[in-house]
């Protein structure tokens, strides 16, 4: 099929674009196979490039011969296009409708996209399970990497390689898989370095009404327990929901068959309810009445924050079991692809400082969401505006991001990234030029890699691009006000000595702190986790592995010919939260050997604070919210 057939009117002049809080733009509207483009064709004005895949719903209105299309996007933006001419407007609208609902994978934009930036590394190979396992191997020998699923035959939603207890052979795994929903047998999700406890995840056991049991499954999970120790099974469903699941062949682990495990039920809602909740939340955010009471009651009716709180509570519970109780944990819900992943990934953010870096967070998303088989394509095919009946759509990943944001609000100094990073991830899950979130599982993505165009799929968001933008900008701004960097550089240069730099010549510009506007992509809430003394264990933040970049033009250091010798750099300790490294200083005036500085800093464990405090996220109540 050719896109041209679908585009009846490729170009209209004199179209006016209206967006909330931004100036209107008048220009030419073009439709291409993948984009809706509006350009005023003048210098210095912004162009609108909107992926058709990002369009959730459109509305048409006519006043005389002036047509108006209101485009509601999956990333929750709403824009308005005023199109002169009834016919053009109808043509454009129908083209958009068709183009935005194309199902065929072969027509998706990531297969056509050619990046404009230089691809520094192959993103598909950035976070391989083998690499993650190498870290694990260095800590323990109790686990092995099994390729039982190498052709996706045991479990279609698992990756080819999974970590399982060393003493359990592949046959046992196959049998256990037959006993678990979707073949999702218990696999390792997280290894807690501090005490060697683990978190595993799986699908529900298929006990059914007559209480089937599976010795292999029992053996598999018992293999993770130390002698005499008990573990916890966290079922993300309520007892009654889990009971009902028995009638459909599912169920839960009975005490009799799993005597070494204690089962705890929590109440994370199923995906259809979450989707409803998102729709209500977005409706509340878009309410035009400006009435305080309406906002609060609609917010309440959406139940969104209740879901956030429930998920956070469950994740805190899992983290507490592992860190405080010193017990291993198995998490599952029904399929083990939604609420289970929310809990396991959040628990890792709580427990493991590495997950709070940009790189670590990307690795976490890769491991716990993409590899673990969260069906992104199904969950994200519609967003909050769509009129069609939701099938499998649900903001499961968005809720996870919201939970991360809540933790970030309470521990602003423990994260390398800012909220912008989370928003960016949210946008890319719904519509993206990258193939990262395409498909529903590792197997689907690997099948597509055989496709002739597949090489374009091998693009993941370029890490280095991201870092420039998303390193805690807000905090960075504040720090730069105090010319932190200037002093550092001066100090480094001084200690390595030879030259002193005049005190005031280093200027760092003030970036505008972003002021809140009606930016509904971020839920305006601030939930704090409930009351029952659940605490997030403290942890040493490890030194982030990334490079800070001081924007290129910001620093001007006079004095030519300053050369810093390679080995003399010593930097004093300091309490700095912004992970540094790779200080790039412009031009040729100064050459600081990049790697040397970075290495030096790392080896001396300098420059970084160990944030020993992910202290009590104790239990403030709902009211700590701000919106």
């Amino acid at each position: 099929m050719e896109f041209a057939e679908l585009i009846k009117t490729p170009r209209v002049d004199g179209v006016v674009l209206r967006r909330p809080f931004l100036p209107t733009v008048e220009g030419t509207l073009c439709l291409t196979g993948h984009h809706l483009i509006l350009s005023s064709r003048q210098d210095n004005t912004e162009e609108l490039w909107l992926l058709h895949a990002n369009i959730d719903a459109i509305e048409k209105r006519f006043v005389g011969s002036l047509g108006t299309i209101i485009v509601k996007c999956k990333d929750l933006r709403v824009i308005q296009l005023d199109i002169p001419g009834m016919e053009e407007c109808l043509n454009i609208a129908s083209s958009i409708e068709v183009l935005s609902t194309l199902d065929s994978v072969s027509l998706m934009y990531p297969l056509f996209y050619r990046p404009m930036f230089q691809v520094i590394e192959d993103g598909w190979k950035s976070f391989l399970p083998e690499d993650a396992f190498k870290d694990l191997e260095s800590m323990t020998e109790e686990w092995r990497l099994s390729d039982v699923n190498k052709d996706y035959s045991v479990c279609s939603s698992y990756p080819p390689l999974v970590a399982v207890p060393k003493d359990v052979d592949d046959d046992t795994l196959r049998k256990a898989a037959a006993f678990r929903h979707g073949g999702r047998f218990p696999v390792l999700s997280y290894y807690h370095k501090k005490n060697g406890m683990v978190m595993m995840r799986s699908g529900q056991p298929l006990t059914g009404t007559n209480g089937r049991r599976c010795k292999e499954d029992e053996k598999l999970i018992n293999a993770t327990l130390r002698a005499g120790k008990r573990g916890y099974i966290i079922d993300t469903r309520t007892v009654s929901v889990a009971q009902q699941a028995k009638a459909r062949g599912g169920g839960f682990e009975s005490e009799a068959n799993y005597p070494q495990w204690r089962r705890i039920h929590k109440a994370i809602e199923r995906s259809s309810i979450l989707q409803e909740s998102l729709i209500k939340l977005v409706e509340a955010c878009n309410d035009q009445s400006h009435s305080m009471d309406r906002w609060l009651s609609k917010l309440e009716a959406s139940n969104w924050q209740t879901h956030v709180k429930e998920i956070l509570t469950t994740a805190c519970l899992a983290a507490q079991c592992i860190d405080r109780e010193g017990a291993s944990v198995l998490v599952h819900g029904t399929e083990g692809t939604d609420s289970t992943l929310q809990v396991t990934s959040l628990a890792q953010i709580i427990l493991d400082p590495a997950c709070r870096t940009i790189q670590g967070f990307q690795a976490l998303v890769e491991r716990e969401w993409l590899q673990a088989g969260h069906p992104f394509q199904q969950r994200c095919s519609q967003s909050a505006y769509s009129n069609s009946k939701p099938r499998c759509e649900a903001p499961v990943f968005l809720l996870f991001l919201d939970c991360v944001w809540q933790i970030l609000r309470q521990f602003p100094c423990s994260f390398q990234f800012s909220q912008h990073f989370l928003v960016l991830l949210f946008e890319h899950t719904y519509a993206s030029q990258f193939g990262t979130f395409m498909g529903n599982s590792a197997s689907e993505r690997s099948v597509r890699e055989l496709h002739p165009e597949s090489h374009t799929l091998c693009l993941v968001m370029d890490i280095h691009c991201l870092q420039k933008v998303f390193i805690h900008l807000d905090l960075f701004h504040i720090l730069s006000c105090y010319s932190l960097n200037s002093t550092w550089i001066k100090y480094i240069l001084f200690l390595t000595h030879q030259h002193t730099i005049p005190h005031n010549d280093i200027t760092i510009p003030h970036n505008d702190i972003t002021i809140p506007h009606n930016d509904i992509t971020i839920p305006h809430n601030d939930i704090t986790i409930p009351h029952n003394d659940i605490t997030i264990p403290h942890n040493d933040i490890t030194i982030p592995h990334n490079d800070i970049t001081i924007p290129h033009n910001d620093i001007t250091i006079p004095h030519h010919d300053i050369t810093v010798p390679h080995n003399d750099i010593t930097v004093p300790h300091n309490d700095i939260t912004i992970p540094h490294n790779d200080i790039t200083i412009p031009h040729n005036d100064i050459t600081i050997p990049h790697n040397d500085i970075t290495n030096q800093i790392k080896s001396n464990q300098i420059l970084f604070v160990t944030y020993t405090w992910l202290a009590d996220v104790n239990a403030s109540v709902a009211k700590c919210l701000c919106f």
Binding site: M292, T306, S483, D526, T528, A619
Partner: protein, 614 residues
């Protein structure tokens, strides 16, 4: 002292409001404070509660563990003690009942408070703010506005200050006539002059118009205000009350301006509710947020039904209306409510804050409060219940103003020189009666009490520790690019002010604070600069080996310093208790207590700073 029967009770338990935790310690009752000292030697927490801060004391029925005593403070602290012996509990209870109801101003803490200052320092404190200079800064007197001496002896209006600014064309008879037609004699006077457009913000009380009465002098007064501004043909009259309330007032011979009688006015109601509605609203809010194990939904419903944020929005909307009229249309505005000392003060001061970057600095903010609240006679004594008075007169009008300012600081993080802590501290001292500034109801009473001779000024105290109130995100050039702030009052932008209403509930606050980190960084940065200076000095000296040795030493010092800093970042930085400079060390001077203790593995962050960022 004669009211204190039991000065000390041991083995008292302090229960946490939101968890099952408790601490035991000793309760001391002094002439000015109720002090709880935790007996746990390691982390001995002390709570100082000034008697003036105590809003109510309640003795609950006896339980097996002892006799519970619940104390609610005006700074939103709620403490729950359990005293073992009922007799002790009763003694404390009855002593407090007497102590928290002072009957005369002389009993207030301000008259006995002595912060070890000499007389000269004390007097200088009172001279910090000069409203005459402030009007000069605005460009008044000028060719259209002048200083009038009609109220020199508080003859025309006893709740106004002595110095008042009126249009040049308003003669004495007009002023006198107008004041007789206004409730409590509060005739229209200038409060802010927007130099750029020569537009004035004036304030007054409601006219005594009843159903049909009119007053020619009052009409010419408004005419004079209108004439003083050549940019606009009319003057806005903002009645900040809901229309219904204003109409009801007509039956009592008061009311609002009839547009037919006044030439060139545009009349506008803006609908802010009265002090009684605000009082109940805040009470409801506190009830809701004080509930244990509150669910998200109950919280949101409670927030809605309290209506508090709705009222905050109404006040902000009114201020925005005022600002637009003045800055965009260039029109003068006359603001009034009933008596012109509650809603009028809120709207005028917030409007000025939006219009003039000066008021967003620490000094400017103090001037603003001094001008629109203190000197124009907001009844602090009645509204804050300083003396045992009519409970119907009590209302959180000033608290609401501070909250509006806080909402603005949240929307414009770069625009304000001060941080949240200043607002909290001012709120603390409005109720503490420790400084003379907020005592009594108006300037005349303050002069009678000779406050300037007998008490200290809060402003001097705040300025002396000004570095604590600096907002690190403040950008000096922001005022040039954004002289007028245009806040959004979309409901989702108004937040619950956790750090005010949960100020003392530790478990409610985030565990890390960016602000605290920045303050620490700033300090370490300063030390680094020092080291650089030292090192620079050393390298200039000829003996090179020596300089190397010094360099090493300096590095070592740095390391020690850094470690110490980690510890010190855990020291208290709180504004707990209002004992001010007496316990200044509790402000956790950044230098203090280096290396006093090892960094605890789990740090629960002190709310003093934690609350400042969220």
């Amino acid at each position: 002292m004669e009211h204190i029967r039991t000065p000390k009770v041991e083995q008292v338990r302090l229960l946490d409001r939101f968890s099952n935790k408790s601490a035991s310690g000793t309760l001391h009752l002094t002439a000015t404070h109720l002090i709880f000292v935790e007996s746990n030697a390691d982390a001995a927490q002390e709570i100082w509660i000034l008697h003036h801060h105590i809003g109510s004391v309640e003795k609950l029925s006896l339980t097996t563990s002892g006799c519970p005593l619940v104390i609610q403070c005006r700074n939103f602290r709620v403490v729950h003690f359990v005293v073992q012996r009922e007799r002790d509990c009763h003694d404390i209870y009855s002593s407090l009942l007497r102590l928290l109801r002072p009957v005369s101003y002389e009993e207030l803490y301000a008259f006995s408070y002595n912060p070890k200052q000499n007389e000269q320092q004390r007097e200088e404190g009172w001279q910090l703010i000069d409203l005459g200079a402030e009007f000069e800064r605005m460009g008044v007197p000028c060719d259209q506005w002048q200083l009038t001496d009609v109220n020199r002896n508080y003859k025309i209006c006893e709740t106004y200050p002595r110095d008042l600014y009126v249009p040049i064309t308003a003669s004495k008879p007009i002023i006198v006539g107008s004041s007789k037609f206004r409730s409590k004699g509060r005739f229209p006077v200038l409060t802010y002059f927007y130099q750029e457009k020569k537009a004035a913000v004036c304030r007054c009380s409601q006219p005594l118009s009843g159903f049909s009465a009119r007053c020619l002098e009052d009409e010419s007064m408004l005419q004079a205000i209108s004439k003083a501004n050549h940019n606009s043909r009319f003057v806005y009259v903002m009645d900040t009350r809901p229309k219904l309330n204003a109409m009801a007032n007509r039956a009592a011979g008061k009311g609002y301006e009839n547009e037919d009688n006044y030439s060139n006015i545009r009349f506008q109601f803006v609908g802010i509710e009265n002090i009684h509605v605000m009082r109940t609203s805040l009470q409801k809010l506190l009830e809701v947020v004080g509930t244990r194990s509150l669910s998200v939904n109950d919280y949101l419903l409670g927030l809605e039904s309290s209506g508090w944020l709705r009222h905050v929005k109404a006040v902000l909307d009114a201020a925005i209306f005022l600002t637009k009229a003045v800055t965009v249309e260039g029109a003068s505005v006359l603001v009034h409510c009933s008596d012109g000392w509650d809603r009028t003060a809120q709207v005028c001061s917030l409007g000025a804050l939006l219009m003039d970057p000066y008021y967003r600095t620490i000094n400017g903010f103090m001037v603003l409060i001094e001008k629109d609240w203190i000197s124009f006679g907001h009844k602090f004594a009645d509204r804050c219940d300083q003396l045992d008075g009519d409970p119907k007169e009590v209302s959180p009008v000033f608290t609401q103003f501070l909250e509006c300012v806080w909402q603005l600081t949240e929307q414009f993080p770069q625009a304000f020189e001060f941080n949240e802590w200043l607002l909290l501290q001012i709120h603390e001292h409005v109720h503490s009666c420790q400084y003379g500034n907020f005592l009594a109801n108006n300037q005349r009473q303050r002069e009678e009490l000779q406050l300037k001779d007998r008490t200290h000024s809060l402003w001097a105290f705040l300025l002396s520790e000004g570095q604590n109130y600096l907002n690190p995100a403040f950008c000096h050039t922001y005022a040039e690019t954004h002289p007028v702030l245009e806040p959004s009052t979309l409901p989702c932008h108004l937040k619950f002010w956790r750090n005010m209403y949960h100020q003392f509930d530790r478990s409610m606050h985030p565990r890390q604070s960016v602000l605290k980190n920045v303050l620490t960084l700033k300090e370490s940065n300063r030390q680094l600069e020092d080291t650089i200076m030292k090192l620079e000095a050393v390298t200039l000296s000829p003996s090179h080996p020596l300089s190397l040795a010094l360099l090493k030493e300096a590095q070592h010092q740095e390391e020690v310093g850094e470690e110490a800093k980690k510890c010190c970042s855990d020291t208290e930085r709180t504004v707990e208790g209002s004992s001010g400079s007496e316990r200044k060390e509790s402000y956790g001077d950044l230098q203090g207590t280096y290396g006093a203790k090892v960094e605890p593995a789990v740090v629960s962050l002190e709310f003093g700073v934690a609350r400042m960022t969220c």
